[in-house]
């Protein structure tokens, strides 16, 4: 079992955690904006939201991540880090990956939220409008807070999927857990099962508590009608 101590598993999973956290925050924000667009009374916004979600959600994630690196950076020259820092590639790849994950995961957040919005009775929004709240206030103060509470469990699934999806970042060289796994496979060809098992256990350690915690929160904050 000593071979494990030769690898920085903790460091690699820390990168996985960072990818997950930054991407989750970004997707929650962008996904909420998309959901707001999809239910807004402005036709142009609705059309944009619908087109975006259908396009991005149906594109393979690997394509999006590699597209971010080869398309945005290699071809179009979009740099998200300081080119002279000496860690440019590392930082730039990390940020491109987060950008890709946010673009992709936000579509799932948006659709979950939209399902959540549908669980909020129409009367809630009517009462808000009748009191003089504008569209944004109705959505932000009355509808979305109730929608969020209804979709914490589905959002937990999205978060768990995101955690596992971060392995795709290794395709553009982000040094997260699965990239370390590639190195271990290369070097430890005699211990393949151990390599797979240790990475799998690492992901379970990350995702299992996420699911349990959010399941508990979902029950705790559920809106009673």
């Amino acid at each position: 079992m000593d071979f494990l101590s030769r690898y920085d598993l903790l460091g690699a999973f820390w990168v996985t955690v960072q990818l997950t956290v930054f991407s989750a925050i970004g997707s929650l924000v962008w996904g909420t904006v998309l959901a707001a667009m999809r239910v807004s009374p402005v036709p142009v916004m609705r059309a944009f939201g619908t087109a975006y979600v259908n396009l991005v959600r149906n594109t393979p994630l690997t394509l999006i991540i590699i597209g971010a690196s080869l398309g945005l950076y290699s071809t179009l020259g979009l740099a998200l880090a300081d080119d002279t820092s000496g860690t440019f590639l590392k930082d730039n790849n990390f940020r491109l990956a987060v950008l890709g994950f946010v673009a992709y995961t936000a579509t799932f957040v948006c659709e979950s939220l939209r399902a959540g919005i549908n669980t909020v009775p129409v009367g809630q929004a009517e009462a808000a409008r009748a009191l003089g709240l504008r569209f944004g206030q109705t959505l932000g103060i009355v509808v979305l807070p109730q929608a969020f509470r209804a979709v914490i469990a589905p959002l937990a699934s999205v978060l768990i999927a995101l955690t596992k999806n971060t392995t795709v970042a290794s395709a553009i060289g982000v040094a997260e857990a699965s990239l370390l796994m590639s190195e271990m496979i290369e070097n430890e060809s005699d211990k393949l099962f151990l390599v797979f098992a240790s990475i799998a256990v690492g992901f379970v350690v990350l995702t299992l508590p996420t699911g349990l915690l959010l399941g508990w929160v979902a029950k705790k904050v559920a809106v009673k009608r």
Binding site: Q124, A127, A128, A130, L131, G132, L133, I141, V223, R225
Partner: protein
Amino acid sequence: MTAAAAATPMIRMSGVDKFFGPLHVLRNIDLEVPKGQVVVVLGPSGSGKSTLCRTINRLEPIDKGTIEVDGQPLPAEGRALAKLRAEVGMVFQQFNLFAHKTIVENVMLAPVRVRGVGKDEARRTALELLERVGIATQADKYPAQLSGGQQQRAAIARALAMRPKVMLFDEPTSALDPEMVQEVLDVMTTLAAEGMTMLVVTHEMGFARKAADRVLFMADGEVVEDATPEEFFGAPKSARARDFLGKILTH
């Protein structure tokens, strides 16, 4: 106040038509409600009375005609409409209290968010209003913890918190258990007695007799009778009204 201003009706509808698809739900409605008047709208279900009520704050847009509230034509969607709605209180059949907020938060919400009233002041006013409708002790509970009658009284308090010029009631007691109807009607009767302009869609004949200044009887999207309660209940002119009253009163 000049004579002209006093003569401006609180609600004026003229030539209003409304369709739901092929269904003609409001037919050429002309209506003026002077300030301080309590109007009860009666009629069989499907007669368009709820729709009429909901067009006045544009929860239902109309297809033809004009609606004015206090001399001001209803604006299209947007800020101006929100501003006008803030001055028109509405009470729904299903209460529609915000399920994720406590009773007092429900009452405070619009004054704070729409009018910019300070939280402390809004809370003080909210508690006074809850006292007035008799549920001050329930202030910190969530809607689902209250009975239907209590919820509807809270909803009335929530509407009153905006100090509306006029109150619309869309079948406020239809979803209540019978034993809770009276507590809501009592609040409404008090409100009427205080001089609030009210338009009430209801099946409560007792309330119509006691509190209304005027009764509108609707059928098939039209106002068939427009009379005082005494006239309407004493000697209905149309056959449809007689038929309706016959069914209701023998129940």
